[in-house]
Symmetry: C2
């Protein structure tokens, strides 16, 4: 790899927007995950699609890896420069290009974060619903097929990306999709790119579906005597077809961490946090129907509110879950892992997972987007003790194998990155080889985010 | 191509389930479209995935094209044997394999039709919502990314296929997806296969999402003074966020054809046919809100009913639209074409299309799934007059170009087949070449449904 030549050309193109400083390389060599730092050789900050295209062409000529970078909030090491190369940070491509209220869609650059987009939308009566918790960039969310608290109602990035502009490994720029709400015109390249983790190209523009801010919203929280009761309440709620906008689980340990971290008063018991969107009548009716289900499963009285500040406080608490849990073991790092199973298997998957973690020496609170059958374990480790990381990996591996055994997937939302390639053959069989063939067809030099997702990395 | 050797091997494998009779070849060489018949060299009826695999392997060895066949209801010539070869008819693979009520999903063989599936589901409280009108097979619907009257509420095949079993061109069998409601585990092979029109492999099993039969349903129809008023009522309804389960447009000519064909009494005026699903209160409320919008746009009083037989009659009428229109010009065949545009452009797209057709000598009623921005023109031609087919093709071409100019797609639901390959470069640019690269990666001999969808055919 002629990295030196690539860096010369990138400097000539971008000037100060190409950095080889140790601090920038270190900042872009870290992740939220347990992986050791892997700094790239350089970081670049393009401002236009044309610049991204030139960057990719330079790297293709010199055989230099190219790794996209959004907010750095990935949990499976997606942005790490395993084989060195250039990190393309989209921080300067952070404009909302066009809001089309009548069509309920918006075109944005990849560096716009979901919170920034919703801030821009606040006068329109519309919002972008996908909510993974972290204030990730929309480019990063598309690339990891992100989902989150509202997916049970509004879908994931798979459902909310209408079209993409993508710079391919050879510098071609393609537009996948149109602004039509549906199409039967050929292979679904948008869906192929969403979730491709930067291994097929760099996203330089996104057109996203928006949703109307519901007329009324109610939200609430309630405690349950044990995890099984809470999960069975979720299953019954989903099977009854009660339209939930959010239905989140937090285990007793998580509740304790919330109490310590945020100063709220929560019983040290499993909780469900829920939200309803719709017309005022239906929001109230659905909350009452849910309250009955909660009571049937032995839950504490379900109190709900339509007051905006209470609702905001509830979800701010939920979104602080990861940090609250980390704070419960000072100095710890976490291996955060997620799986997703059919709803009928959720109780079994969660019970077996909790028992497995309870039998290990590691603390590992469980929480998640249970309405989708999706949950996380935050396995806390002391980095100075290698045996702890090994144990966390074993627990995560068993969790993923359990998901596959129960007809589910090894990751509902965090993605593969470098953390879960070892599970791909088990989940997809020959389908993983097919992914490798598609990758080779579009990136024969294996320069787009090498070491991630596909076989042979 | 050693077709003779392939046929010998297929006969040895399948006996009487391999036919070279003229009648079978003719039956499988026709389509609902305007294309001339193109009979295959043979028709085979596999009963298992293993047999499909052997068929594909025999054909791969002998370089013989393989074309999947469902109910033969495609409108763009998807099933025609342009280069000869073997048609694989899935009529014998028509079992519903497993209904999982708790998870609201079902696994079926590809030859099950949507009506047969809903018949099997009738005791479960669940239904499969995608409704293209024709009683197509679910395999065919997946391969064309079908949608239809209910897509505005329930999505298309893109949204309702959870997982597929696919036999690839080299005989490998892959399973795309799991029964989890979402996944971030690698490239979305399910989405790549849905809409691939048999050019990447043959689907041998589908796992589909089901929906709960709504507690209440109301449906109704109303006339408008002109097309613009009807379309603007649709646009306002969608933009107001009124949750429509169906919202269909039929032009004045279509209404006249309905009157003649079905003996109903319809004003010779543009109509909207709508349906609401939900709780009884909300169904009534939404119907009332819609009635107000209708009145604001000068529509006739909107009458709706929750009576099942009236509802069934309404949609039976709608589904007979194609045949009612054909009957309005005795002896005619039709070039049926569809486009889909952003909702804000729908009025313009429909007005320009209607004006263009009015200026031509051909009758061409317009109808469609306007809640999605999707509509059809049924361009009727006398097959004995070649100039009429040419004129219909010109009208369809201009309709597709109009869709692209307005930010839409050249087909919302009928697909590309052999009818719209000429529009793919305009719609996708270099993206069409990418589709060709993906095709070559998975089917280097170009044996899976050659002559369709991708470049160079």
């Amino acid at each position: 790899m002629a990295i030196a030549q690539a860096l010369d050309a990138l400097h000539a193109l971008l000037g100060e927007r190409c950095s080889i400083s140790k601090s920038e390389r270190d900042l872009h060599g870290r992740s939220e995950s347990h992986f050791p730092p892997m700094p790239p050789d350089a970081v670049v900050w393009p401002e236009t699609t044309a610049e991204v295209r030139q960057i990719v062409r330079i790297c293709a000529t010199e055989g230099c890896p190219v790794i996209g970078w959004g907010a750095g909030t990935s949990l499976e090491g997606h942005g790490l420069a395993v084989q060195g190369g250039v990190v393309v940070d989209f921080a300067h491509m952070n404009r909302v290009l066009e809001i089309r209220q009548a069509d309920m869609d918006v075109t944005v650059q990849p560096g716009v974060t979901r919170e920034a987009l919703n801030e821009e939308l606040r006068a329109t009566g519309l919002f972008f619903p996908v909510d993974p918790g972290a204030n990730a960039t929309l480019g990063g969310m598309a690339m990891t097929r992100a989902s989150g608290t509202t997916t049970v109602r509004y879908g994931s990035m798979r459902d909310n990306v209408l079209a993409l502009e993508v710079v391919l490994a050879d510098g071609r720029v393609i537009r996948t999709g149109t602004r039509a709400r549906k199409s039967a015109a050929g292979y679904d390249l948008t869906a192929l790119m969403v979730g491709s983790e930067g291994t097929l190209g760099l996203v330089t523009e996104l057109t996203l579906r928006l949703s109307g801010i519901p007329e009324a919203t109610s939200a609430g929280i309630c405690a349950f005597p044990d995890m099984g009761s809470a999960v069975n309440a979720v299953i019954e709620t989903i099977q009854m077809g009660i339209p939930m906008a959010r239905i989140e689980f937090a285990c007793a340990e998580t509740a304790r961490a919330f109490t310590a971290y945020a100063g709220v008063e929560m019983a040290e018991a499993p909780h469900l946090m829920v939200e309803f969107h719709g017309a005022p009548d239906s929001v109230a009716q659905n909350a009452e129907r849910f309250a009955e289900i909660v009571a049937d499963h032995g839950g504490a009285p379900f109190r709900w509110s339509t007051r905006e500040e209470e609702r905001r406080a509830l979800w701010a608490l939920r979104h602080a879950g990861y940090y609250a849990i980390l704070a419960s073991r000072p100095g710890a790092r976490a291996l955060v892992t997620d799986i997703c199973v059919p709803i009928s298997r959720l109780a079994q998957a969660m019970a077996e997972t909790q028992a497995d973690i309870a039998a290990s020496p590691l603390p590992g609170p469980i929480l998640g987007h249970v309405g989708d059958g999706n949950f996380h374990a935050v396995l806390m480790i002391d980095e100075a003790v290698p045996a702890e990381l090994d144990e966390a990996k074993r627990l995560a591996q068993r969790m993923a194998e359990r998901a596959l055994r129960l007809g589910g997937t090894c990751t509902g939302e965090h993605g593969i990155g470098m953390g879960k390639t070892g599970l791909m053959a088990a989940e997809h069989g020959a389908g993983w080889d097919v992914m490798g063939q598609l990758k080779t067809a579009l990136d024969p030099q294996n320069l787009m985010n090498p070491g991630k997702l596909v076989p042979g990395n």
